[in-house]
Each structure stands twice: as structure tokens, then as C-alpha cells.
Symmetry: D2
Subunit: 311 residues, 4 copies
């Protein structure tokens, strides 16, 4: 049962965690699958908390922008859920995957219906639907993220987007494969272009934390009281984050941290405690599962210290 | 955020749900993989709630004993966790499976380390460790379950156990396969005998609900204040239930119900709301994923009506 | 041990087989994965034998051109083998596949090295190498086939090529997937264009039989005494045909017919008896494994009647 | 086309090959999956040829008995084929496997019907049928092998059989798994006992070569003119040996050697040239695919030197 923490207390917790986790520097490995990511300074570490009460607690490099990568899957999914509702779940399931995130095996077994929207296959289907809906999908995604985080300066990092595009063979394969089952509607080159752009969005921890407050608030963005998703849809999105948000470490994250969340290979993680707060952590060095090593250490200490999690 | 429901309110909710769900009778299919299960009268339906405040709410066939089947995996896991602690997780992971529950593929891919303790492969490893620990494992399991539920009359249904044993080829295969990787220590015949017995335990909804109150209570059995698991271990068990408790419907259950829980092909389901209550539902007819059809319908309505879930 | 059959005897054998196999009309199913193939008149049936002694025996629609589809994999493979020699086998193995011909599973397991050059994945790698070698690959393929069969009129059926190209999602996926492992060098669109063209080659049974005489003759085309492949390379190609030439029916074909051969979903089959003859059979209706139903019936009777096979 | 070699010529070929292959000593690795096999002196090398003309050519350790292991699958298959005929192929296919020989994946995919009789799964089904047919299966197998090779002294090596039995977890798993699909009829312990015995048969190269002469002779044992299999059955067995006899090196063996054959992890290989001869080679050191390294080197040189193979 969440205690009623005050801002000052969160402040103390975050300060302590920051010091405890710093020694983990150098124990992970920066993503190297695209050159643009591998060049990031690995010695960065930021934490941001946004509470529903309106408080902001920042620490370290919380204002530095980085590549959000797979965290973008939350935004496109929310956009498509709000338009398609339950219909979406005919094209993508919400079951955990149990396989490395790029695997084609289950996709073949399940006839082109991806297991969930957070494996690449599922995210491609979601972005394909987004292209069905929006005439200018890249603009629409950026508008949505800017609105959620209240930051008009969020941008596509064109260098990262270009690098993604040049190393997209596996995602091209996935897209054509799903298309062969009829579950991709649009031109694959267009789809991959949008997809590489969404992965290249640059945001800071504070942007990220703000952008998911609506999930902690039953679908309503507390910054402008706008209903982004219905309460039921917000719950569904949280359930998918809880079971599928951390690649093949999702189960372990559920235990160690116990919050709905999503990570990206840029080293960012965003999570939230329902009815309370959103938190984002960033450090570029990854553990063997592709999740931010210091990020997970920090979040585990956080839910332990505040004695709150969803379990 | 859980409202503070009173017993009378739970009573009303349960009465209403019972009436709403009754029309689903006949829409599922009783398990037929062993004759002893297929002979159960399908027209039974029971619900039991046990609150940490000490209240009991029963409805329908809540006192009728049935075969708990895979729900027993909670008990053996709790027993082994309390003895081995973190060491256990070297032999079995806690990641969702993403494959039908008997599949051998991932086991081969992951060299005999089952993905989680609720797929049969993982449950066999857990029971194997239990045999390492207890000289009389069958007695130990029964003692543990009786203590948790406060019911000395809980028993092994020998007819079911015998039927299980006669149809255990798939589990024999799993056990020998895992043994070939060195991750089963004991004689396979002994192991399967214990395993078939644990599946054959007969309990009622009220027994089941009581037996998991300790999980809703940070590891402490509220009935006798005994610490069954550490708080951390209880949280781990809850996390595994949340991500892996319902075969290939675990993600959907997380969304629709949003409680840590576990089902069995006998048609039983047990779940809990942390800090609040435990609930068990039973109806023998299963949906295509092997989970009680009416049970899931009832639980979905329950968390919707009380406006509480872990998400 | 091959008997020394005379032309007149082959004539009689073929006449008899033709009559015996005609009643199988209507028992198979014309390929429907691309519209251009599905429109073929199913009631066609041709047989052609070319002996190393220089005799030609024709029966039925032996002069009608049809889409050779996967039979083209023999030609591109021979072209690339003659240039790369043993080096080719670092990029593609020569082991039977054991999976439906389009499967991605083994490709993932074997890190982008296809199991053999006759599954689509392997044929794509071979055609990719051909593009490395020839500045004008489409012209080169046509030249090669025309030379082998002594027929300057052999052509790409542009309607079929276009239809292939419009239904190439699965092959696009395969190509990008292999490229992600670095085993495709060229632009995927170019590769698929060449590949769709090679599949669209239109040839008759007599063209096909002539075109593989060099394999029955230790690598030397008997029509112009040109060494197409070394004897060792010809033997390797024959070995691959014997173990991998008929999709998931290769083992059964080895038993029932016992000749090195290759089939295509256009309903054509070409095979040869070393040191003796080449034979081609065509009928558009396929059996469940994607091989010409009447073609296999005819070839089985042929090797039984002439009492010769490689076993 | 086989030349007509004389005994003296074979003698010269074998002498030369022996000298050429000896330098490969030390380049392979003796099987170590059971202790009894790992203790064999690796520096042994024997070759035996038996011609249909009645000649015997021996070289090196051709008279030393060794563990034939998987070569025994030929004998049990021949015994069961002669009783069940075509009916057998409903329970086991004859398609190459494309997976490491113990894999359970394809078995699950194909619902308990093994792909061929030379992977362990298929050999277990064959031995299960043999137990259906013979009241004393172990005696029957030994009688059959003794008769084929004309050597009454062939025996089960009880030390090897015991060691096999103690390390049979993987085969126990396979057998129970197949039994769960209904494709094993007998008690699994009995089946594994017979299977471990057949693998433990000790024979010499000369025994082995003689024992497969009937396959080179259209099913008739030339030593006593007894019809062991029909000509068609002998051809089927040869086809299976050609496509499936050397684990995941079967395709490569078809190319390099080009004879129907079968290997065992004891380091033995037996093969035959139809209408001509049988040959057996033995050397305990294995290549990475589990086939005798020197054995394959020797056989490749043999078919090259005599300019005969089935291709």
C-alpha cells in the first residue's frame, strides 16, 4: 500500500539512490547496433519524478535529451488504441513473448499476428495502423509526444533516424513477413521510415516522466485534464507494460521493480505508480537483456525505499 | 486505488456477479485429458472471498471440493522458495513463456532451464527440489496446504492421482528431458508420483482463498501470524503469478482482471488483491486457453465493480 | 544396373506410362499463390526424354512452354558454382532442410546461412552471388539457359514475372533477413527482380530435358561438348538435387523414383539418369507437397519400367 | 558408371587410401557421451570391402570389434520393414531431418511422427514395432545380425549397454514424448532396454561389410541366397541411407562420397555400391557432425579412386 510520500521525502530517496547506483558505471555496455547510438557518452545518468500532485524531482542528467528508441512504442500504441479501440487486438495480441525481441519464429507460428505491441513485430503493426489513420504520421507522432510532455521542442534526431534506416534489414524482413500474412497494409518503405523516425525521438527524463502521467491518472493528462485514453484503455496499456515492457527481462522487472514500464536501447526507462507518480531513469549502458543497467538498479531501489509497487 | 469496501458491499457485488455470469454455463468445455477430470458435473459454480479484515463471503458451490491441478504449483513453489531463497532462480527463470504450456521448444533452446515455475517444466524442477528438501514430500505438501487454509481435511484424490499417473507421458518426457541437462536430481518415477499427487489435491473455493491470504499480507498468514515467505519472496511469487499464472492468456488476464492469480484445468482460479483480500472462483468449463470460462468472467466483473486492481 | 535400352523401347515405355498416368488427372491442385500460375489449363501433360546417345522421345504436351519456377534454381546454381567453386559453400550449405520451403526458423538458427541452394533462402543467396558476378544478370541467365537447351526462343514470361513481383513479400522478408546477417550483398529490390524473372522463365519439357544433359554427362554439354561444370561440381549438383530437389518430399522421391531431379510449382519436373539420359515431365496439378502429381507418378513408373535408378 | 575393378585393384586402392588417411589421426574427437565409448583407443583404423563377386579385402584393424551404435538402426529397420511393409511409413516418414539428431522440435511440430528412421526418435518407433513383432526382441536382433554377417560370435557388449542405459535420459524423454502422441506402443523401460542393447552390438568392419551385402544385391543375401527384403524395400532402405544416414552431414556425404551408408558414434561407417560391393571403415575419432573423420576421408578417396558412386 503506497505510503503518502512528500516531495521532500522523494528528494531524499532519489539522492540516496543516485549515490548508491553511481558505482555501477562501467558495468554495462552501450548499444552498438547502430553507429549513432554507440557514440553516446556512457557516463551519463539522470532521474526524473513527476507526481500527480504536481511536483517534479530531478537528479543528474535529467534534462539531457537522448534517443528514446522503443519507449516510443507506448506513444504510437496509445494513439492507435484511442482510434481503433478493441479492434486493434485482432491484429496484435497482448501476451508476453518469451523470445528475444526480434525473433521471427513465433510470428510464423502465429500466422502473422504478433504476440504483443512491444516486440518489434507488434510495434510495426501498430505503426502501420497509425499510417492508416493519420495522413501525416510523423507529424502526428511528434505532436502527440509534445502535447503529453508539454515540451514543444521535442524533435526527431535526424542523424539517428538515418542510421536506423541504414540498419533496418531485420525490421524490413519483419515487415515484409507480416505483410505476407496480410497484417501490414501500407508500403513497407514508408512504414519503416515512420518507424525509424519514432525510434529516433530525442527526449529527456523529465519529458518522459511527464509524458506518461496520464497512465498513472486513469487516462487523463493531469497537465491539461485531457482524456488521452479511456480508463479501461489506460489499464490495458499498463497491463501490457507490466508483462511485456522489458524484452526478455519483463518477468524479472515485475519482481524486482513491480511497476508498469518500458525501456529503450538508448538506455532510457519510463515507469509509473498508479495514482501517484511517473518516473524516468536514463543511463546508456545496458545489461545483457538490453535494458539500462543503472536504470533498473535505480528503479529497484526506488520501489523498495518507498515501499510501493503494484504487487 | 482500492476503495474501502465493507463486507456487505462485497456480498452485493458477488451476488450480482453470480447472476450475471450464470448464463455463460455451457459455453466452455470440461478438461478431458484425464478421465477422472472429464466426469465432473460441469454445472457447478462457486465463489469465495476472504478479506484480511477476517470476513468470508461465499456464493454457490464455494464449499465443494474439486481438483486444484496447476494451482498446486503455488504451494510447492512457496515451500521451495522459503528453503532455497534466491538460489532457486538459477534452476528456473521467472519470465513468461509465450508458448503452449507443455512446449518443449524453449526448454531445448534454454538448455533445460525452464522459463518459469508455472509451466509444467518449471513446476517439475520445483517439485524435484522439494523432494531434495523433504524426506516425505507428499506428506509435507499436504501439511503445508492444510496449514495455509486451516483445513485439516484437505486430501489427495487418489482416483485423480492414479488417472494423472496413467496419462503422464508428456510430463515423463519433460522430466527426462530436463534431467538430461542435469536440472532434475531425483528419480523421475518418484518425481512424477509426487507431481501427480500435488495436482490431485482436492480443495474448495474457501480453502483456496484462505490459502493465499499470506500473499495478500506480505508473506504472513493472517490466520496464525506465521511468516510463510519473506515480504520480498511474497512479492516475487505475486509477480510470477501476474505474468505467468494463466498459460497463454496471462497477458489478457492481467488486462481484464489485473490481479496476481493462478488457474488450474480443474476449473479453479485463485487470485488476490494485495493488502485487501483473496478470492477463488470455480467452474469446471474451460475456455480455449484452459482457464475457467466463468471464473474469468466473474473475476473481470469483480475488479471492475470494486474499482481495484494492481494496475 | 541400367539395361541398355534402345530408343524404340523408351518409346514403348513412355507410351504405356502416359496411358497409365492420365487417369490421375483432376486429383491434384494447380498452384494458386500467384494469379498468373492459377490460370493455366490443368489438363496438360507432357513427357520428354533426351538420351546421351542423341535420341529424343516426346509424348503429349512436350513442346508446350510453361513456367519453370524453382527448376530455374538449377541454372543459377550451376552458373555460380562454375565461377565461385567451393567458396560458394561458405554462404549456403548442402544439407536437406526438413521444413516447409519458406520457413524462417532454420535460417535464424543457422545465422543466415541457408541449408541448401534449393530452398528459397538458399536460392536467393545464389542469385545474389550471380548479381555479384554478372553485370547484366537477367541477360546472363537467359543466355545460359538458351545455350544449355539449344533453344534461342526461351524467354521470360513478363506477365508471370510481374505477378511474382507483386506477391514477393515472403521472399522480400527472406532476403532482408539474410541481409541482416550479411549474407546478401546486393540491393534487395534488384535481387528480387532478378529472382522473379528467373522463376518466370518459360520452357517446354524438351527444353528442360536438353538443358540438364550436361549433368548426366559429367558436366559436359553433349550438344556442343562444352564443359559447363567440372565433373566434381556436376556430382555435387546431382547430390543436392537428390537430397533437396523436391521440397518436403525429397526423401520420398529418392525412394519412389531414385533420380537426381528438381521440381517447380508450375508443375514441371526435370531429372536425369547419370551416363544415360535426361527426362522432363510436366502437368500443372500439384500434390500436397507442391510437386506435380502426374509427374511423380510418371517418373516412378519410368524408373521401375527401365529398372534403373541411382539406388 | 562403375568400372569393372578386380580384387587386386581394390587392394591397391585400399592400401593407398590407408596411407593417405593415416595422417588425419588426432584431428577428431572420440565420443564421450557415455564413459564406455570414451575409453576406446583412438589410434585404430580399419577398412573392409566385400564384393558381390565374393572377394574380401581387409586393411588395418578390420577384424577388431567395436560398438556399432547407430549403424544398428539399419538392422532393426530391415527387420521391421520385412514384417510391416508399407504400413510402417504411417508411423515414421522417410524425409531428411535438418536438425541435430536428438531434437524434439520437429517431433512436436509433426505430432509424434518422426521424420525418418535414422534419427533417434524414428529408431525408437522402429524398435517399438520390433517389440510388437518379436516375443524375444534382443535375441531376434542378434540372430538377424549374426545371419547377415555370417558370424555367430557377434555379441552385445554388456558394459556398453549398461553405460547407455545409465545415460539414456534424452532417449527416455523422446520415447515418452512420442508415446504421448500414441506412436510408441510398449513400456518405455522395455523399449529403452532393447534400444540400448542394439546400440551396444560389437562388430568388426568385415562383419559390417558382409551384413549389408544384401542391400547391394537387391535384397538378397549373396552368402546364402536368402531374400532379406524385397527389391523395392531394399531400394527404399538405400534411399533413406542416402538422404539421412549421416546426421547433419548427410547432404555433404552424398556429395563427397555418393554412396548409401550409415554411421555410428562408435566411429564405424558402412556403405555400399549397388550391384558391386559393401565397404566398412572404422576409426573412433569423430568430426564435429559425429561421423568418423578418417572414415569419411577414406570413403571419399575410395569413390574418387574407383570412379564410381551413385551420382
Amino acid at each position: 500500500m503506497p505510503k503518502n510520500f512528500e516531495t521532500a521525502e522523494y528528494r531524499k530517496v532519489i539522492d540516496r539512490i543516485y549515490d548508491e547506483v553511481l558505482p555501477f558505471r562501467g558495468k554495462g555496455k552501450v548499444a552498438d547496433y547502430i553507429p549513432a547510438l554507440s557514440e553516446v557518452d556512457p557516463r551519463q545518468f539522470g532521474i526524473a519524478i513527476e507526481t500527480l500532485a504536481g511536483d517534479t524531482i530531478l537528479k543528474g542528467d535529467a534534462d539531457t535529451c537522448f534517443s528514446i528508441q522503443s519507449i516510443s512504442k507506448i506513444y504510437t500504441l496509445a494513439m492507435v488504441m484511442s482510434h481503433l479501440g478493441e479492434k486493434l487486438w485482432r491484429s496484435v495480441r497482448t501476451e508476453p513473448s518469451g523470445n528475444p525481441f526480434n525473433s521471427l519464429i513465433q510470428l510464423e507460428y502465429e500466422k502473422g499476428i504478433p504476440r504483443n505491441p512491444f516486440i518489434n513485430a507488434g510495434a510495426l503493426v501498430v505503426t502501420d495502423r497509425l499510417i492508416d489513420i493519420y495522413p501525416h504520421p510523423k507529424e502526428a507522432i511528434l505532436d502527440f509526444v509534445r502535447e503529453l510532455s508539454g515540451n514543444e521542442d521535442i524533435y526527431y534526431d535526424s542523424r539517428v533516424a538515418k542510421s536506423e534506416r541504414e540498419h533496418a534489414d531485420r525490421n524490413m524482413a519483419l515487415a515484409y513477413f507480416i505483410k505476407s500474412f496480410g497484417n501490414i497494409h501500407n508500403d513497407v518503405d514508408t512504414l519503416i521510415d515512420v518507424y525509424c523516425h519514432q525510434c529516433s525521438i530525442a527526449m529527456s527524463c523529465v519529458d518522459l516522466a511527464r509524458s506518461v502521467l496520464f497512465l498513472a491518472n486513469r487516462g487523463v493528462n493531469p497537465q491539461d485534464s485531457k482524456q488521452i485514453l479511456t480508463e479501461s484503455q489506460a489499464k490495458r496499456l499498463g497491463a501490457v507494460m507490466s508483462t511485456c515492457g522489458f524484452y526478455d527481462e519483463s518477468g524479472d522487472f515485475a519482481f524486482r521493480v513491480g511497476l508498469p514500464g518500458k525501456s529503450g536501447v538508448g538506455g532510457g526507462i519510463v515507469a509509473y505508480l498508479p495514482e501517484k507518480l511517473a518516473i524516468s531513469v536514463w543511463s546508456p549502458e545496458l545489461n545483457p537483456f538490453g535494458n539500462s543497467l543503472m536504470g533498473i538498479e535505480a528503479l529497484e531501489r526506488f520501489t523498495t525505499d518507498i515501499e510501493s509497487s503494484i504487487f
